[in-house]
């Protein structure tokens, strides 16, 4: 059984990340709703990347995972970039 310090850690660390996620979501919402601001799509995507990073590192502990696991996660993104890169190479030059 964990002692009290462990219990606090188990309960509080996820709550902190949760608060950060909600805060970022709030910023995203406010920026989207505020009239007349530029780069709305870029801003919201940047915030999503930040949120995703928080979940990956804070909740999924990708940072503490083995190199193998991190490579796997990266491979998914890299291979997806192949699809984007090569197809946009077509779309943008038609």
């Amino acid at each position: 059984m964990p002692d009290d310090a462990d219990r606090r850690r188990i309960l509080l660390a996820p709550c902190g990340i949760w608060a950060a996620l909600v805060l970022l979501g709030g910023i995203s919402l406010a920026y989207a709703l505020a009239p007349g601001l530029p780069f709305k799509l870029v801003a919201s995507l940047a915030i999503v990347i930040a949120q995703g990073g928080l979940v990956l590192i804070g909740f999924m502990r990708l940072g503490k995972s083995s190199a193998l696991v991190r490579t796997t996660a990266l491979a998914g993104v890299v291979w997806l970039s192949f699809l984007f890169l090569m197809t946009f190479a077509d779309l943008w030059t038609r």
Binding site: L68, A75, W79, F82, L83, D90, T93, R94
Partner: protein, 555 residues
């Protein structure tokens, strides 16, 4: 499998093998033993192979004459769609990985089983469920979109059972993803003591490279198929050109999977052939490390060349140039492999067993298939040849001449290990030679047809093409005989074949160190690897050979 078959299955009284551990139907259908799952897969893909083969037979019959007299246009369209869908997803993609790979990979790395045995069983069930969906589509009247499911034909205009078939393909994709995940985890985490990366047999490397492609390509196909399902089921206009959809985009995401899928089919074949040639020539594989890197390079660059299917599809010239360039680049590692197989024969002691005949046939057919790939990678020549019989001949050289020959070779090579029985060597050699000639007879005329301009998927054609089509159809008869013969002598071998010793070919590799057939947990005690693979002779000179990296890493 009936419970009174133990006489057929046990090697000697008292000795147990994976075949004798439980003989009820239930013990097979719920087995998590990778060897039994391999057998389940082998039986099911054989069924699909002959369904697809029946469709091919009807296609060749129809093309015997220029008029559409044997089938109607609609029937013909359904036949070639059926042939494509079944052969690609239900035979070629799972053929070597799910049968030989499932059986051999854990044995080759010295493991008790694959990393996730229950996932492995689930993979087979997914395959069967997918097969049921697709066969239902067939029984209800078929699908007429071609195996490529190009939109908007498949989404808006086809009046056939596209939804069922597309959903079947969606499901079968998960079956190969499951196999891929299992193999990757097995190779990474379950290698036995002393089995370093550079001591892995090339077949295991091939399975690893194949699994990478399976895991990274298939999900995109799943999305493409699901989108087609959504468009047909709910009418959501996703690829509908009237709603601004771009039909070429579908082709991009389709070929993002379907070109790498070619490497899912050919990489395992390369692995099989490397094993057979090394064993039957009694030589180390020439340039082992180069063989490994070539496979990995193929697996990665294979993802970047899909646009060569789209040179005339309305893709931009710039993109076509890039794809053409990369397609030429990927020819290099394939050529390296051919040179290395040839080099392996040098100063060997070659035995022309049936597996070796298949393997040598593979080298010839794959080389020709690969060379004709250069034609299709050159944009101006491809413009002329794309969607003609040249393309048909090219990919049949790779997939039938290449992958299927290797599959048959592997089946013969490991048959004694899998069943514990020998087959008739003379029949097997005769079948191998029949297949080689039947194959060339069937498909070589199609190169000529293609150059002359005969389009594919035509059930009627101008009469000047008839002579080549008749030749091709006649060859198909020889080819069919070549495919049917093994059914006969393999069945005979199962019932009456001579008992096989543990290592009838005197091959290296961990799978030959255990019993034939292997016991339930593969090895009586975990094996330890002390040498490189292919230690067929005791001097070492293999260029870039395995002997340079012998430091152990914890397995």
């Amino acid at each position: 499998m009936r419970s009174d078959d133990t006489g057929l299955l046990a090697r000697e009284p008292g000795e147990t093998s994976y075949l004798t551990e439980g003989t009820t139907l239930r013990s097979w259908l719920l087995s998590t033993d990778h060897k039994r799952i391999a057998i389940l897969y082998a039986i099911s893909i054989t069924g699909f192979f002959f369904i697809g083969g029946a469709a091919a037979t009807m296609i060749r019959l129809e093309l015997f004459t220029p008029q559409g007299d044997f089938t109607t246009a609609d029937e013909y369209n359904r036949l070639f769609t059926l042939h494509g869908v079944i052969m690609v997803w239900f035979f070629l993609v799972p053929s070597i990985p799910a049968t030989l790979g499932n059986f051999l990979l854990p044995l080759m790395v010295g493991a008790k089983d694959v990393a996730f045995p229950r996932l492995n069983l689930m993979s087979w069930y997914l395959y069967i469920i997918a097969g049921i969906f697709t066969l239902t589509a067939l029984l209800l009247g078929g699908v007429d979109t071609g195996w490529t499911f190009y939109t908007p034909l498949s989404t808006l205009y086809s009046n056939s059972y596209v939804l069922l078939a597309a959903f079947g393909i969606f499901v079968v994709g998960f079956s190969s993803i499951a196999t891929g995940i299992n193999f990757i985890a097995t190779v990474h985490l379950l290698r036995t003591k002393g089995m370093t990366w550079m001591r892995l047999p090339l077949f295991a490397w091939a399975m690893y490279a194949t699994s990478l492609v399976m895991v990274l390509a298939t999900p995109v196909l799943a999305m493409a198929m699901l989108l087609i399902c959504a468009e047909r089921l709910f009418g959501l206009p996703i690829f509908d050109p009237r709603a601004g959809g771009d039909p070429v985009l579908f082709q991009h995401i389709f070929w993002f999977y379907s070109h790498p899928a070619v490497y899912i089919m050919i990489l395992p074949a390369m692995g099989v052939v490397s094993e057979i040639i090394a064993c039957e020539a009694r030589r180390r594989v020439f340039g082992y490390q180069f063989m490994v890197y070539a496979m990995l390079v193929i697996a990665v660059i294979g993802f970047l060349v899909w646009g060569h299917h789209m040179f005339v599809a309305g893709q931009s010239p710039f993109a076509s140039m890039i794809f053409s360039f990369l397609s030429f680049v990927i020819a290099v590692p394939s050529a390296i492999k051919v040179f290395n197989w040839t080099g392996t024969l040098y100063r060997g002691s070659i035995r022309f067993s049936a597996p070796m005949l298949y393997a040598l046939g593979f080298v010839g057919l794959f080389t020709l298939g690969g060379l004709t790939g250069l034609f299709l990678a050159s944009i101006p020549v491809d413009v002329h040849l794309s969607d003609t019989y040249f393309v048909v001949a090219h990919f049949h050289y790779i997939m039938v001449g290449g992958a299927v020959s290797a599959f048959f070779g592997g089946l013969h090579f490991w048959w004694p290990k899998i069943t514990g029985r020998m087959y008739s060597e003379s029949f097997a050699r005769f079948a191998a030679i029949t297949l080689f000639f039947g194959f060339n007879f069937t498909f070589f005329p199609q190169f000529i047809l293609g150059y002359l301009g005969m389009p594919r998927r035509y059930h009627e054609y101008p009469p000047e093409f008839q002579v080549w089509n008749v030749m091709s159809s006649t060859g198909a008869v020889v080819l069919a005989i070549g495919y049917l013969m093994p059914l006969g002598y393999f069945a005979y071998s199962l019932l009456n074949g001579k008992r096989a010793s543990d290592n009838p070919w005197e091959a290296t590799g961990l799978e030959w160190t255990t019993n034939s057939p292997p016991p339930k947990h593969n090895f009586l005690e975990p094996p330890v690897v002390l040498t490189e693979p292919y230690a067929y002779h005791d001097w070492d000179e293999a260029p870039g050979g395995a002997d340079e990296t012998t430091q152990d890493e914890p397995a």
